[in-house]
Symmetry: C2
Subunit: 270 residues, 2 copies
Protein backbone atom coordinates (compact mmCIF):
# COMPACT_ATOMS: atom_id res chain seq x y z
CA UNK A 1 0.00 0.00 0.00
CA UNK A 2 1.27 3.45 -0.89
CA UNK A 3 1.50 5.96 1.91
CA UNK A 4 -0.61 8.21 -0.35
CA UNK A 5 -3.61 6.18 0.80
CA UNK A 6 -3.09 7.76 4.21
CA UNK A 7 -2.57 11.31 2.96
CA UNK A 8 -4.88 13.95 4.34
CA UNK A 9 -4.93 17.55 3.17
CA UNK A 10 -5.47 19.86 6.11
CA UNK A 11 -7.43 22.68 4.57
CA UNK A 12 -5.63 25.44 6.51
CA UNK A 13 -2.76 24.77 4.11
CA UNK A 14 -4.85 26.53 1.47
CA UNK A 15 -6.97 28.83 3.59
CA UNK A 16 -8.04 31.01 0.62
CA UNK A 17 -9.89 28.00 -0.82
CA UNK A 18 -13.50 27.41 0.14
CA UNK A 19 -14.35 24.01 1.56
CA UNK A 20 -16.00 23.22 -1.76
CA UNK A 21 -12.77 23.98 -3.63
CA UNK A 22 -10.76 21.89 -1.18
CA UNK A 23 -13.09 18.95 -1.65
CA UNK A 24 -13.15 19.29 -5.39
CA UNK A 25 -9.39 19.69 -5.78
CA UNK A 26 -8.53 16.85 -3.41
CA UNK A 27 -10.98 14.57 -5.09
CA UNK A 28 -9.50 15.35 -8.49
CA UNK A 29 -5.97 14.78 -7.15
CA UNK A 30 -6.86 11.47 -5.58
CA UNK A 31 -6.16 12.61 -2.04
CA UNK A 32 -8.40 10.43 0.13
CA UNK A 33 -8.74 12.52 3.29
CA UNK A 34 -9.19 16.13 4.27
CA UNK A 35 -8.99 17.83 7.66
CA UNK A 36 -11.71 20.43 8.10
CA UNK A 37 -11.60 23.69 10.03
CA UNK A 38 -14.71 24.89 11.82
CA UNK A 39 -14.60 28.41 10.37
CA UNK A 40 -15.10 26.84 6.92
CA UNK A 41 -18.35 25.11 7.87
CA UNK A 42 -20.56 28.20 7.86
CA UNK A 43 -22.38 26.59 10.75
CA UNK A 44 -23.79 23.83 8.56
CA UNK A 45 -21.84 20.63 9.19
CA UNK A 46 -24.53 18.48 7.57
CA UNK A 47 -24.28 20.30 4.26
CA UNK A 48 -20.48 20.11 4.38
CA UNK A 49 -20.62 16.45 5.24
CA UNK A 50 -22.92 15.67 2.31
CA UNK A 51 -20.61 17.51 -0.09
CA UNK A 52 -17.51 15.74 1.22
CA UNK A 53 -19.13 12.32 1.01
CA UNK A 54 -20.53 12.96 -2.46
CA UNK A 55 -16.94 13.38 -3.69
CA UNK A 56 -15.85 10.18 -1.97
CA UNK A 57 -13.60 11.86 0.57
CA UNK A 58 -13.23 11.12 4.24
CA UNK A 59 -12.54 13.57 7.07
CA UNK A 60 -9.43 12.82 9.15
CA UNK A 61 -10.13 15.41 11.84
CA UNK A 62 -12.02 18.54 12.71
CA UNK A 63 -9.92 21.55 13.79
CA UNK A 64 -10.35 22.60 16.43
CA UNK A 65 -11.69 22.41 19.93
CA UNK A 66 -10.04 23.41 23.16
CA UNK A 67 -9.05 26.97 24.07
CA UNK A 68 -10.27 26.28 27.58
CA UNK A 69 -8.68 28.96 29.70
CA UNK A 70 -10.34 32.34 30.28
CA UNK A 71 -10.32 34.98 32.98
CA UNK A 72 -13.86 34.33 34.22
CA UNK A 73 -15.88 31.24 35.05
CA UNK A 74 -18.63 32.46 32.71
CA UNK A 75 -16.25 32.62 29.79
CA UNK A 76 -14.79 29.22 30.63
CA UNK A 77 -18.34 27.87 30.63
CA UNK A 78 -18.93 29.32 27.15
CA UNK A 79 -15.79 27.60 25.92
CA UNK A 80 -17.08 24.27 27.13
CA UNK A 81 -20.41 24.79 25.38
CA UNK A 82 -18.64 25.69 22.16
CA UNK A 83 -16.60 22.49 22.43
CA UNK A 84 -19.80 20.50 22.76
CA UNK A 85 -20.96 21.96 19.46
CA UNK A 86 -17.61 21.05 17.92
CA UNK A 87 -17.99 17.44 19.05
CA UNK A 88 -21.41 17.31 17.39
CA UNK A 89 -20.01 18.78 14.20
CA UNK A 90 -17.19 16.23 14.17
CA UNK A 91 -19.76 13.45 14.49
CA UNK A 92 -21.84 14.84 11.64
CA UNK A 93 -18.73 15.08 9.44
CA UNK A 94 -17.69 11.53 10.26
CA UNK A 95 -14.41 12.91 11.65
CA UNK A 96 -13.02 10.44 14.18
CA UNK A 97 -11.04 13.17 15.97
CA UNK A 98 -11.61 16.66 17.29
CA UNK A 99 -8.19 18.27 17.47
CA UNK A 100 -7.76 19.98 20.83
CA UNK A 101 -5.57 23.07 20.99
CA UNK A 102 -5.62 23.88 24.65
CA UNK A 103 -5.36 27.67 24.37
CA UNK A 104 -3.08 30.12 26.17
CA UNK A 105 -3.23 31.01 29.86
CA UNK A 106 -5.47 33.90 28.86
CA UNK A 107 -5.65 35.70 32.18
CA UNK A 108 -5.04 32.70 34.40
CA UNK A 109 -1.65 31.67 35.78
CA UNK A 110 0.12 28.98 33.79
CA UNK A 111 -0.58 26.38 36.47
CA UNK A 112 -4.25 27.34 36.73
CA UNK A 113 -4.63 27.35 32.96
CA UNK A 114 -3.17 23.86 32.77
CA UNK A 115 -5.60 22.69 35.44
CA UNK A 116 -8.42 24.31 33.47
CA UNK A 117 -7.43 22.28 30.41
CA UNK A 118 -7.71 19.02 32.31
CA UNK A 119 -11.03 20.10 33.84
CA UNK A 120 -12.36 21.03 30.41
CA UNK A 121 -11.35 17.74 28.85
CA UNK A 122 -12.93 15.79 31.70
CA UNK A 123 -16.14 17.75 31.34
CA UNK A 124 -16.29 17.08 27.59
CA UNK A 125 -15.44 13.42 27.92
CA UNK A 126 -18.99 12.04 28.27
CA UNK A 127 -20.06 13.92 25.12
CA UNK A 128 -17.05 12.63 23.22
CA UNK A 129 -17.61 9.06 24.35
CA UNK A 130 -21.30 9.19 23.46
CA UNK A 131 -20.52 10.58 19.99
CA UNK A 132 -17.60 8.25 19.39
CA UNK A 133 -15.25 11.20 18.91
CA UNK A 134 -11.66 11.21 20.15
CA UNK A 135 -10.46 14.39 21.81
CA UNK A 136 -7.03 14.62 20.18
CA UNK A 137 -4.80 16.59 22.57
CA UNK A 138 -2.22 18.32 20.41
CA UNK A 139 0.86 19.76 22.10
CA UNK A 140 1.95 22.93 20.33
CA UNK A 141 5.53 24.12 20.01
CA UNK A 142 6.63 26.00 23.16
CA UNK A 143 6.92 29.22 21.15
CA UNK A 144 3.09 29.23 21.17
CA UNK A 145 2.81 28.87 24.95
CA UNK A 146 1.86 32.50 25.50
CA UNK A 147 -0.62 32.83 22.65
CA UNK A 148 -2.06 29.45 21.70
CA UNK A 149 -1.40 26.51 23.95
CA UNK A 150 -0.30 25.87 27.50
CA UNK A 151 0.16 22.23 26.45
CA UNK A 152 3.61 22.29 24.87
CA UNK A 153 5.16 18.82 25.01
CA UNK A 154 4.08 15.36 23.99
CA UNK A 155 4.90 14.20 27.51
CA UNK A 156 2.37 16.66 28.86
CA UNK A 157 -0.26 15.52 26.34
CA UNK A 158 0.46 11.89 27.20
CA UNK A 159 0.07 12.64 30.90
CA UNK A 160 -3.27 14.33 30.25
CA UNK A 161 -4.53 11.44 28.13
CA UNK A 162 -3.33 8.86 30.66
CA UNK A 163 -4.94 10.75 33.49
CA UNK A 164 -8.25 10.89 31.61
CA UNK A 165 -7.92 7.23 30.79
CA UNK A 166 -10.60 6.83 28.15
CA UNK A 167 -10.51 5.66 24.53
CA UNK A 168 -12.03 9.08 23.79
CA UNK A 169 -8.83 10.85 24.89
CA UNK A 170 -5.87 10.66 22.53
CA UNK A 171 -2.89 12.69 21.40
CA UNK A 172 -2.17 14.34 18.08
CA UNK A 173 1.49 14.44 17.08
CA UNK A 174 2.53 17.27 14.78
CA UNK A 175 6.15 17.02 13.63
CA UNK A 176 6.58 20.80 13.55
CA UNK A 177 5.54 21.04 17.19
CA UNK A 178 7.57 18.17 18.67
CA UNK A 179 10.69 17.51 16.57
CA UNK A 180 13.03 19.52 18.85
CA UNK A 181 12.16 17.57 21.99
CA UNK A 182 14.95 15.38 23.41
CA UNK A 183 12.19 13.04 24.64
CA UNK A 184 10.16 12.85 21.45
CA UNK A 185 11.01 9.25 20.57
CA UNK A 186 10.30 8.01 24.09
CA UNK A 187 7.06 9.95 24.23
CA UNK A 188 5.88 8.73 20.83
CA UNK A 189 6.38 5.18 22.06
CA UNK A 190 4.55 6.04 25.27
CA UNK A 191 1.61 7.29 23.17
CA UNK A 192 1.05 3.78 21.76
CA UNK A 193 -2.64 3.08 21.44
CA UNK A 194 -3.53 6.71 21.98
CA UNK A 195 -2.23 8.30 18.78
CA UNK A 196 -5.18 10.12 17.22
CA UNK A 197 -3.34 11.84 14.41
CA UNK A 198 0.00 12.63 12.84
CA UNK A 199 0.73 15.93 11.05
CA UNK A 200 3.66 16.84 8.84
CA UNK A 201 5.23 20.02 7.47
CA UNK A 202 8.80 21.25 7.95
CA UNK A 203 10.91 23.72 9.96
CA UNK A 204 12.84 26.01 7.59
CA UNK A 205 16.12 27.68 8.53
CA UNK A 206 15.86 30.53 9.16
CA UNK A 207 12.28 30.43 10.39
CA UNK A 208 10.52 33.37 8.69
CA UNK A 209 7.99 33.86 11.48
CA UNK A 210 6.43 32.10 14.41
CA UNK A 211 2.94 31.54 13.04
CA UNK A 212 3.10 31.48 9.25
CA UNK A 213 6.62 30.15 8.87
CA UNK A 214 6.12 26.44 8.28
CA UNK A 215 7.62 24.91 5.19
CA UNK A 216 6.77 22.21 2.71
CA UNK A 217 8.16 18.80 3.64
CA UNK A 218 11.82 18.66 2.65
CA UNK A 219 12.39 22.40 2.94
CA UNK A 220 13.52 22.18 6.54
CA UNK A 221 15.41 20.26 9.19
CA UNK A 222 12.80 17.90 10.63
CA UNK A 223 13.63 14.20 10.37
CA UNK A 224 10.12 13.48 9.09
CA UNK A 225 10.63 9.89 8.01
CA UNK A 226 12.13 8.97 11.36
CA UNK A 227 9.18 10.50 13.21
CA UNK A 228 6.67 8.84 10.86
CA UNK A 229 8.30 5.46 11.40
CA UNK A 230 8.20 5.96 15.16
CA UNK A 231 4.53 6.88 15.02
CA UNK A 232 3.78 3.90 12.80
CA UNK A 233 5.63 1.66 15.25
CA UNK A 234 3.04 2.51 17.89
CA UNK A 235 0.49 0.77 15.68
CA UNK A 236 -1.02 3.94 14.27
CA UNK A 237 -1.99 3.45 10.66
CA UNK A 238 -4.50 6.25 10.23
CA UNK A 239 -4.39 9.40 8.12
CA UNK A 240 -1.31 11.61 7.99
CA UNK A 241 -2.22 15.26 7.62
CA UNK A 242 -0.18 17.78 5.71
CA UNK A 243 -0.72 21.02 7.60
CA UNK A 244 1.38 23.98 6.47
CA UNK A 245 0.80 27.47 7.78
CA UNK A 246 2.63 29.61 5.24
CA UNK A 247 1.76 32.99 3.71
CA UNK A 248 3.47 32.16 0.46
CA UNK A 249 1.56 28.90 0.06
CA UNK A 250 -1.69 30.75 0.75
CA UNK A 251 -0.84 33.36 -1.86
CA UNK A 252 0.09 30.92 -4.58
CA UNK A 253 -2.24 28.03 -3.83
CA UNK A 254 -3.44 26.41 -7.03
CA UNK A 255 -4.09 22.84 -8.05
CA UNK A 256 -0.37 22.32 -8.55
CA UNK A 257 -0.05 22.61 -4.79
CA UNK A 258 -1.69 19.24 -4.28
CA UNK A 259 0.61 17.51 -6.77
CA UNK A 260 3.60 19.09 -5.04
CA UNK A 261 2.33 17.89 -1.68
CA UNK A 262 1.87 14.34 -2.96
CA UNK A 263 5.39 14.32 -4.41
CA UNK A 264 7.07 15.74 -1.33
CA UNK A 265 5.03 13.52 0.95
CA UNK A 266 6.37 10.48 -0.90
CA UNK A 267 9.92 11.85 -0.99
CA UNK A 268 10.22 12.93 2.64
CA UNK A 269 7.63 11.12 4.73
CA UNK A 270 7.10 7.73 3.06
Amino acid sequence: MSLLERLSFNQITADPWSLEQVVHNCSRSGIPYIAVWRHKLDGDAAKASAMIRSEGLRVSSLCRGGWFSAPTAKERRERIEDNRVAIEEAAVLGAPVLVIVSGPANGQTLDDARATVLDGLLELLPDAEKSGIILGIEPLHPMYAAERSVVVTLKQANELAERIGSPAAGVVIDAFHVWWDPEVMRQIERASGRVAGFHVSDWPVPLPGTLMGRAMMGHGVIELRRLREAVDATGYNGPIEVEIFNDEVWRTANEGLLEQIKRRFLEHVA
Copy 2:
Protein backbone atom coordinates in the same frame (compact mmCIF):
# COMPACT_ATOMS: atom_id res chain seq x y z
CA MET B 1 20.22 43.34 51.21
CA SER B 2 18.60 44.79 48.12
CA LEU B 3 18.36 42.53 45.11
CA LEU B 4 20.08 45.34 43.22
CA GLU B 5 23.32 44.09 44.76
CA ARG B 6 22.92 41.01 42.56
CA LEU B 7 21.99 42.88 39.39
CA SER B 8 24.18 42.25 36.36
CA PHE B 9 23.83 44.10 33.09
CA ASN B 10 24.38 41.73 30.19
CA GLN B 11 25.98 43.94 27.61
CA ILE B 12 24.11 42.43 24.65
CA THR B 13 21.12 44.39 26.00
CA ALA B 14 22.86 47.50 24.66
CA ASP B 15 24.92 46.07 21.84
CA PRO B 16 25.57 49.49 20.23
CA TRP B 17 27.56 50.46 23.35
CA SER B 18 31.28 49.71 23.46
CA LEU B 19 32.53 47.76 26.44
CA GLU B 20 33.97 51.00 27.77
CA GLN B 21 30.57 52.69 27.62
CA VAL B 22 28.92 49.70 29.33
CA VAL B 23 31.46 49.80 32.13
CA HIS B 24 31.21 53.55 32.54
CA ASN B 25 27.41 53.64 32.49
CA CYS B 26 26.98 50.71 34.86
CA SER B 27 29.50 52.13 37.26
CA ARG B 28 27.69 55.47 37.28
CA SER B 29 24.33 53.73 37.78
CA GLY B 30 25.62 51.64 40.65
CA ILE B 31 25.09 48.34 38.87
CA PRO B 32 27.67 46.00 40.43
CA TYR B 33 28.06 43.33 37.71
CA ILE B 34 28.26 43.12 33.96
CA ALA B 35 28.17 40.12 31.64
CA VAL B 36 30.68 40.43 28.83
CA TRP B 37 30.43 39.18 25.25
CA ARG B 38 33.53 37.95 23.50
CA HIS B 39 33.02 40.03 20.37
CA LYS B 40 33.40 43.13 22.56
CA LEU B 41 36.84 42.14 23.83
CA ASP B 42 38.76 42.96 20.66
CA GLY B 43 40.94 39.98 21.51
CA ASP B 44 42.39 41.71 24.56
CA ALA B 45 40.80 40.30 27.70
CA ALA B 46 43.56 41.71 29.94
CA LYS B 47 42.89 45.27 28.84
CA ALA B 48 39.14 44.78 29.27
CA SER B 49 39.66 43.26 32.67
CA ALA B 50 41.78 46.16 33.87
CA MET B 51 39.17 48.66 32.71
CA ILE B 52 36.33 46.77 34.38
CA ARG B 53 38.23 46.46 37.66
CA SER B 54 39.28 50.07 37.64
CA GLU B 55 35.61 51.05 37.73
CA GLY B 56 34.94 48.64 40.57
CA LEU B 57 32.72 46.30 38.57
CA ARG B 58 32.71 42.52 38.57
CA VAL B 59 32.02 40.18 35.67
CA SER B 60 29.14 37.74 36.19
CA SER B 61 29.83 35.67 33.07
CA LEU B 62 31.49 35.59 29.71
CA CYS B 63 29.21 34.97 26.71
CA ARG B 64 29.75 32.62 25.13
CA GLY B 65 31.34 29.28 24.50
CA GLY B 66 29.85 26.15 22.99
CA TRP B 67 28.63 25.88 19.39
CA PHE B 68 30.17 22.43 19.28
CA SER B 69 28.50 20.74 16.34
CA ALA B 70 29.90 20.97 12.82
CA PRO B 71 29.83 18.84 9.68
CA THR B 72 33.50 17.80 9.82
CA ALA B 73 35.85 16.58 12.53
CA LYS B 74 38.30 19.33 11.61
CA GLU B 75 35.70 22.03 12.23
CA ARG B 76 34.63 20.42 15.47
CA ARG B 77 38.27 20.47 16.55
CA GLU B 78 38.45 24.20 15.79
CA ARG B 79 35.40 24.79 17.94
CA ILE B 80 37.08 23.08 20.86
CA GLU B 81 40.21 25.17 20.48
CA ASP B 82 38.13 28.34 20.36
CA ASN B 83 36.40 27.28 23.57
CA ARG B 84 39.79 26.83 25.24
CA VAL B 85 40.56 30.44 24.39
CA ALA B 86 37.20 31.48 25.82
CA ILE B 87 37.97 29.71 29.10
CA GLU B 88 41.26 31.60 29.34
CA GLU B 89 39.49 34.87 28.62
CA ALA B 90 36.94 34.17 31.33
CA ALA B 91 39.74 33.54 33.80
CA VAL B 92 41.48 36.79 32.87
CA LEU B 93 38.21 38.69 33.29
CA GLY B 94 37.53 37.11 36.66
CA ALA B 95 34.28 35.75 35.27
CA PRO B 96 33.29 32.67 37.26
CA VAL B 97 31.22 31.28 34.38
CA LEU B 98 31.58 30.72 30.66
CA VAL B 99 28.04 30.56 29.28
CA ILE B 100 27.71 27.57 26.96
CA VAL B 101 25.28 27.83 24.06
CA SER B 102 25.53 24.41 22.53
CA GLY B 103 24.91 25.41 18.91
CA PRO B 104 22.58 23.92 16.30
CA ALA B 105 22.92 20.50 14.69
CA ASN B 106 24.83 22.23 11.92
CA GLY B 107 25.10 19.36 9.47
CA GLN B 108 24.89 16.54 11.99
CA THR B 109 21.72 14.70 12.95
CA LEU B 110 20.04 15.97 16.10
CA ASP B 111 21.16 12.91 18.06
CA ASP B 112 24.74 13.16 16.82
CA ALA B 113 24.85 16.88 17.53
CA ARG B 114 23.68 16.25 21.08
CA ALA B 115 26.40 13.63 21.53
CA THR B 116 28.91 16.12 20.14
CA VAL B 117 27.88 18.63 22.81
CA LEU B 118 28.59 16.16 25.60
CA ASP B 119 31.91 15.17 24.01
CA GLY B 120 32.90 18.81 23.70
CA LEU B 121 32.07 19.60 27.30
CA LEU B 122 34.02 16.58 28.51
CA GLU B 123 36.99 17.61 26.45
CA LEU B 124 36.94 21.15 27.84
CA LEU B 125 36.44 20.03 31.42
CA PRO B 126 40.12 19.75 32.46
CA ASP B 127 40.77 23.27 31.17
CA ALA B 128 37.76 24.62 33.02
CA GLU B 129 38.71 22.85 36.24
CA LYS B 130 42.30 24.08 36.04
CA SER B 131 41.13 27.67 35.43
CA GLY B 132 38.38 27.55 38.04
CA ILE B 133 35.77 28.39 35.42
CA ILE B 134 32.30 26.87 35.41
CA LEU B 135 30.95 25.75 32.04
CA GLY B 136 27.41 27.10 32.38
CA ILE B 137 25.21 24.96 30.14
CA GLU B 138 22.32 27.17 29.06
CA PRO B 139 19.29 25.53 27.52
CA LEU B 140 17.79 27.77 24.85
CA HIS B 141 14.11 28.00 24.00
CA PRO B 142 13.09 25.20 21.60
CA MET B 143 12.37 27.77 18.89
CA TYR B 144 16.17 28.08 18.61
CA ALA B 145 16.75 24.34 18.20
CA ALA B 146 17.42 24.60 14.46
CA GLU B 147 19.65 27.66 14.53
CA ARG B 148 21.32 28.05 17.93
CA SER B 149 21.06 25.22 20.41
CA VAL B 150 20.26 21.53 20.39
CA VAL B 151 20.05 21.81 24.18
CA VAL B 152 16.52 23.07 24.68
CA THR B 153 15.28 22.12 28.15
CA LEU B 154 16.59 22.54 31.66
CA LYS B 155 16.12 18.81 32.14
CA GLN B 156 18.53 18.19 29.28
CA ALA B 157 21.05 20.67 30.73
CA ASN B 158 20.73 19.05 34.16
CA GLU B 159 21.32 15.62 32.65
CA LEU B 160 24.45 16.87 30.90
CA ALA B 161 25.78 18.50 34.06
CA GLU B 162 25.00 15.41 36.17
CA ARG B 163 26.64 13.14 33.65
CA ILE B 164 29.78 15.31 33.64
CA GLY B 165 29.70 15.38 37.44
CA SER B 166 32.22 18.11 38.15
CA PRO B 167 31.96 21.42 40.01
CA ALA B 168 33.12 22.93 36.72
CA ALA B 169 29.87 21.92 34.99
CA GLY B 170 26.78 23.93 35.85
CA VAL B 171 23.56 25.16 34.32
CA VAL B 172 22.46 28.67 33.42
CA ILE B 173 18.75 29.34 33.77
CA ASP B 174 17.29 32.05 31.55
CA ALA B 175 13.66 32.80 32.28
CA PHE B 176 12.90 33.57 28.61
CA HIS B 177 14.15 30.15 27.57
CA VAL B 178 12.49 27.98 30.23
CA TRP B 179 9.30 29.64 31.52
CA TRP B 180 6.97 27.61 29.25
CA ASP B 181 8.23 24.21 30.49
CA PRO B 182 5.75 22.17 32.55
CA GLU B 183 8.79 20.75 34.36
CA VAL B 184 10.57 23.99 35.05
CA MET B 185 9.99 24.09 38.82
CA ARG B 186 11.05 20.47 39.26
CA GLN B 187 14.13 20.99 37.12
CA ILE B 188 15.16 24.19 38.91
CA GLU B 189 15.05 22.24 42.17
CA ARG B 190 17.04 19.45 40.56
CA ALA B 191 19.69 21.99 39.56
CA SER B 192 20.44 22.73 43.23
CA GLY B 193 24.17 23.23 43.72
CA ARG B 194 24.76 23.48 39.99
CA VAL B 195 23.08 26.81 39.17
CA ALA B 196 25.75 28.94 37.51
CA GLY B 197 23.58 31.87 36.52
CA PHE B 198 20.06 33.26 36.29
CA HIS B 199 18.93 35.58 33.47
CA VAL B 200 15.78 37.66 33.23
CA SER B 201 13.85 39.48 30.51
CA ASP B 202 10.23 38.95 29.47
CA TRP B 203 8.07 37.28 26.80
CA PRO B 204 5.78 39.88 25.19
CA VAL B 205 2.45 39.00 23.58
CA PRO B 206 2.51 38.95 20.67
CA LEU B 207 6.16 38.05 20.26
CA PRO B 208 7.50 40.43 17.59
CA GLY B 209 10.18 38.01 16.39
CA THR B 210 12.09 34.94 17.40
CA LEU B 211 15.53 36.49 17.98
CA MET B 212 15.09 40.16 18.81
CA GLY B 213 11.70 39.96 20.44
CA ARG B 214 12.47 39.86 24.12
CA ALA B 215 10.88 42.46 26.36
CA MET B 216 11.78 44.43 29.45
CA MET B 217 10.76 42.72 32.68
CA GLY B 218 7.07 43.37 33.29
CA HIS B 219 6.20 43.74 29.62
CA GLY B 220 5.37 40.08 29.18
CA VAL B 221 3.84 36.97 30.66
CA ILE B 222 6.74 35.33 32.48
CA GLU B 223 6.22 34.79 36.20
CA LEU B 224 9.67 36.21 36.93
CA ARG B 225 9.41 36.52 40.69
CA ARG B 226 8.24 32.94 41.02
CA LEU B 227 11.17 31.68 38.96
CA ARG B 228 13.64 33.85 40.88
CA GLU B 229 12.33 32.54 44.18
CA ALA B 230 12.67 28.97 42.93
CA VAL B 231 16.24 29.61 41.79
CA ASP B 232 17.08 31.26 45.11
CA ALA B 233 15.60 28.28 46.93
CA THR B 234 18.30 26.08 45.38
CA GLY B 235 20.82 28.14 47.36
CA TYR B 236 21.94 30.25 44.43
CA ASN B 237 22.66 33.79 45.58
CA GLY B 238 24.89 34.96 42.72
CA PRO B 239 24.37 37.62 40.09
CA ILE B 240 21.10 37.92 38.18
CA GLU B 241 21.66 39.06 34.61
CA VAL B 242 19.29 41.24 32.68
CA GLU B 243 19.67 40.07 29.10
CA ILE B 244 17.24 41.58 26.58
CA PHE B 245 17.62 41.01 22.86
CA ASN B 246 15.42 43.75 21.42
CA ASP B 247 15.87 45.97 18.34
CA GLU B 248 14.02 48.85 19.92
CA VAL B 249 16.17 48.77 23.06
CA TRP B 250 19.29 48.74 20.87
CA ARG B 251 18.03 51.73 18.90
CA THR B 252 17.11 53.81 21.90
CA ALA B 253 19.76 52.74 24.44
CA ASN B 254 20.84 55.67 26.58
CA GLU B 255 21.69 55.98 30.23
CA GLY B 256 18.01 56.09 31.11
CA LEU B 257 17.97 52.43 30.09
CA LEU B 258 19.91 51.42 33.18
CA GLU B 259 17.60 53.32 35.52
CA GLN B 260 14.63 51.67 33.82
CA ILE B 261 16.23 48.25 34.24
CA LYS B 262 16.89 48.86 37.94
CA ARG B 263 13.30 49.97 38.49
CA ARG B 264 11.75 47.09 36.60
CA PHE B 265 14.12 44.60 38.18
CA LEU B 266 12.92 45.68 41.61
CA GLU B 267 9.28 45.73 40.53
CA HIS B 268 9.14 42.37 38.75
CA VAL B 269 12.03 40.21 39.93
CA ALA B 270 12.71 41.22 43.56
